[in-house]
Symmetry: C2
Subunit: 340 residues, 2 copies
């Protein structure tokens, strides 16, 4: 349906589309199915080395504008990183200066251009969330505003059928953890609760119940779970696990979903039932999560991660309420990291 | 939040907002809470007499354009009828000619202007659906396209707290029936199923389970159920009950949600479990649904209703699949009406 959807979009601006595609697909069958026109720009981005950075977004934006001027739209085809790149590029094509200026809530000044997401991995919720998470020189924080949200999303479960097993597990667990953090947070409400409850039920079907495991039916379910988990957290907030995970990603370059899994297993005192069920899923799918990582980290490394995590007040607020500082200090967070 | 949300919108077009408010609220407290500016147009529409008509939309559009030119946005505050009026007016302000020209799927030529919905009754799903149902001289059919969907929606459960009991029941049952028709239809899919399953669970909380009945918590749940039921049907389709209901509305002026309830109780052979549960809810809330109506209808009346219902092929297709004509004829539909 991509062609049909893009036809009216192509009339805008300089009348061409930028396709941002995961480098993983270069030369693969999927690419031949995208109808790229001669005037379009097809960019393969390598997201294996690191998660999206502010420098990368600025570079892409400058390159696109220098080569062909303002495009009609940006189409992202890939996992959560590509989704975030497409969202961020769309915004930065119309907002001047470096993307580091806009990391935070509602700092973006103008709507971006039309952008469409085609997820090829499900779980991060990046296809529906109102943030585009970027790692900058100072912080890992999203460009978060109403204009970040994709104009349209194509959900095609065939595209996630070939995701490697460990990514299938880790990214799916991102959704699971979104829901647990949403359900156990102080900002939970009827809307975020209804979405989390249904997404959790879908996650159990995909990873735990009788017909769990990889199947076409479960790919359908995982794709919807990712969307609903993303909508749940969009209307509440993530919590402790994501704060720790951001520190792991910023300082040690851990991938987001993997970092979540590494941290979540040690949070049974905070998310009791969630962590127990998570461990059942880990066992069922024979996932090896590393243990005793902290033994190999210097105090300096742990300090730096704790600083990153502490500077995410919205997540601690969600987890422990307005008076979160009564409980959470740098030392408390260092203690959490030392469990890993 | 209305003021804050509308501030950036007010810069567009002739820089004023049209508020379309249910006449029921004229002089009531709610109106004083809307910050209407001197340049704005505040229109109270009486939706008690009949459901929205094409003539009504054309008249409103002409009046607005003649008085003040193209507005920045349209805000609808009311139940499903007001939601549909706001959506339809937004579209007809930019599409020329009578709205009768656009009744159907994707017939609208241009995006409408910004429109925001504030539901004061929950259940129809009109706050999130991609259709604005209008009764025209020939058909009852929606202006259905992607631009019909509201740009933004404010869900405030306080606003539905004072809905009269019978409306609270009938409109909630509209959501319930949306989900049953979505779940039992041939177009059901992982997306519409997940939404219907959760909306049904919420409906059971509100109308059937231990803590059912009218409470602030249940108003929260009903508001989310309405949204999710609307999203479920938007990505699949309604079925037999809605086809019959449209006939009742078009020929006998029955209100949509009431017409649904009147028809649904007699469809146990088609929606077995759904109708049984519906009857439990009817009993629990001591709702008196009329019986033996058909005895008072002329054959001519039944014929005309059956014609209206038969001309909704998408609903019969959803209910019985591609070969629905093997089962469904005017006589079959007349038989269904004679059950009422």
């Amino acid at each position: 349906m991509l062609d049909e959807i893009l036809a009216p979009v192509r009339r805008e601006n300089k009348q061409y589309i930028v396709f941002v595609v995961d480098y993983y697909f270069k030369g693969k069958d999927l690419v031949s199915r995208i109808s790229v026109k001669p005037e379009d720009l097809l960019l393969f981005e390598d997201v294996d080395q690191h998660e999206p950075t502010t420098e990368q977004i600025d570079r892409l934006r400058d390159k696109i504008l220098a080569e062909k001027g303002l495009p009609s739209g940006v189409v992202g085809i890939g996992g959560g990183s590509i989704m975030d790149i497409a969202k961020a590029v769309s915004l930065m094509l119309t907002n001047e200066g470096s993307s580091t200026l806009y990391q935070g809530l509602n700092l973006i000044k103008k709507p971006g251009i039309y952008h469409l997401g085609v997820p090829t991995i499900s779980g991060t919720g990046a296809e529906c969330s109102s943030t585009a998470v970027l790692t900058g020189p100072v912080k890992k924080l999203g460009l978060k505003c109403e204009w970040t949200v994709f104009n349209q999303v194509i959900l095609d479960p065939d595209l996630i059928a070939s995701v490697p097993d460990d990514w299938w597990f880790n990214t799916g667990m991102d959704t699971y953890i979104h829901c647990i953090e949403s359900e156990n947070g102080t900002l939970n409400n009827a809307f975020s609760h209804a979405y989390a409850e249904q997404a959790l039920s879908l996650c159990r079907d995909v990873y735990l119940n009788e017909n769990s495991g990889r199947s076409a039916e479960n790919d359908d379910k995982l794709m919807v779970a990712s969307l609903m988990g993303g909508l749940s957290l969009s209307y509440s907030e993530v919590g402790v696990c994501h704060a720790l995970s951001y520190g792991l990603s910023k300082i040690l370059d851990y991938r987001h979903c993997y970092a979540n899994c590494v941290a979540f297993q040690h949070l049974e005192d905070i998310y009791t039932r969630g962590v127990r069920e998570f461990k059942q899923m880990v066992t069922k799918h024979k996932i090896n999560l590393p243990q005793n990582l902290a033994a190999g980290w210097s105090d300096e490394t742990i300090n730096r991660m704790a600083e990153v995590a502490y500077n995410l007040p919205h997540m601690w607020h969600q987890a422990f309420g307005e008076n979160w500082k009564d409980k959470v200090s740098i030392d408390y967070i260092k203690g959490l990291y030392k469990r890993l």
